[in-house]
Symmetry: C2
Subunit: 232 residues, 2 copies
């Protein structure tokens, strides 16, 4: 893999504490590839041959069953995906597709496992990353089981607002179709849900959201650090 993206990858929590030698060894074995939009990088059920790192663009993780499909996560630079499958040497549970033109680093799973065995700092970082992903997944379950779709949307907007800097105006950064699937609703329903949030001070203009009455929305959404916070 070329050198150019290495410093960015090195900065990731997952790789920042490992030895230089092991990091270079990992990078040496990996590939940087550029993909056009809408390419299915991974199909669920496939063996997890590579740990993926998105360095540019965006990748959707989704799942299929019985002719239905649901969006599980959208991965943006710079972060990894499919770590758990890589470590367990087990089939991927989700499919992945590029949403736009994207660059992805592919690190052979075998090398990840080998260096995990050799580098304690890397192992520690992996535990941290896994525990964090695990907890994020449990939060998602709580979000799904404890909230109605309207409440999920309201809390999503508050989270997205924070990610975008915290101001009253921000962009969705995701097609509404995909957002609907992510929130487990239909596009029609999402469209109506936005209208239902109008009385709480949510204005929608294309992909631009304006939250004109933050306290009211918060009062309705009741965000909780045990469901919504990014870290913790």
């Amino acid at each position: 893999m070329p050198e150019s993206h290495r410093p960015d990858i090195r900065k990731l929590d997952l790789f920042s504490e490992m030895s230089d030698e092991n990091f270079q060894s990992l990078m040496h074995a990996s590939y940087l590839q550029t993909f056009p939009p809408q390419i299915e990088l991974i199909t669920e059920g496939d063996a997890s041959d590579f740990l993926h790192v998105v360095v540019d663009g965006s990748v959707e993780l989704f799942a299929r069953w019985n002719n239905r499909e649901t969006s599980v996560a959208i991965v943006r630079p710079i972060s990894t995906f499919i770590l758990a499958a890589t470590l367990r040497n087990a089939p991927n549970l989700m499919s992945a597709r590029t949403l736009e033109k994207s660059r992805v680093v592919l690190i052979p799973s075998e090398d990840v496992r080998r260096i995990f065995d050799a580098d304690n700092n890397f192992a520690r970082a992996i535990v941290s990353e896994l525990a964090s992903g695990y907890r994020a997944s449990i939060k998602k379950t709580k979000d799904l089981k404890l909230r109605t779709s309207l409440e999920r949307l309201a809390n999503y907007l508050l989270r997205q607002q924070i990610r975008e800097g915290g101001g009253p105006e921000f962009e969705l950064q995701t097609e509404k179709k995909r957002l609907a699937s992510y929130l487990n609703m239909t596009p029609e329903n999402l469209s109506r849900a936005f209208k239902s949030l109008k009385p709480y001070g949510v204005e929608v203009n294309g992909s631009k959201i304006t939250i004109s009455n933050q306290p009211d929305l918060v009062k309705f959404a009741r965000p909780s650090p045990l469901i919504d916070d990014k870290t913790v």
Copy 2:
């Protein structure tokens, strides 16, 4: 902690490969406690002071939000819970209560983290356990998002059938009220869902289930190793 349960705990994947010395050190620092039914061992949001191991009885993990409550998992001997919070030294995301009289080993989180740093085999086992739990949680998300409540019930029955030995007759091992919450439905709805499965050969008598037409039920449920299998 007394010696009696140690061999059973030692056999857990999480503890089986670590050094004797470190295992004894962990056990030495921990407590074996017996709790009556319906005791809330942990409240979500609390600091994760202990890694818990259920050695007898059963413990329900559940979550609350906005005056609602949902059952997330039921832990039976011999297994651990609250591992991710322990490792990240972060607040628990779920509450836990005993369902019956139960015995639980409490291992101070601090010791778990200390020995994780010192014992590579333990660290490896922790990664394995975390990755496995993470994947189980993603499967739960897929189950929730891709299936209707009827389909969730049908697949649950097939999984429970396997856990109970695979024969056409088996016990639910869980109150229906709790099962309903676990499957994200109301008790009333669960009761009706059982009736809806009758045409597919499901007979219910109290907590005894008889699957009289396995192929039909499987055809309806369409279980998938990427959602339903215990391991993988």
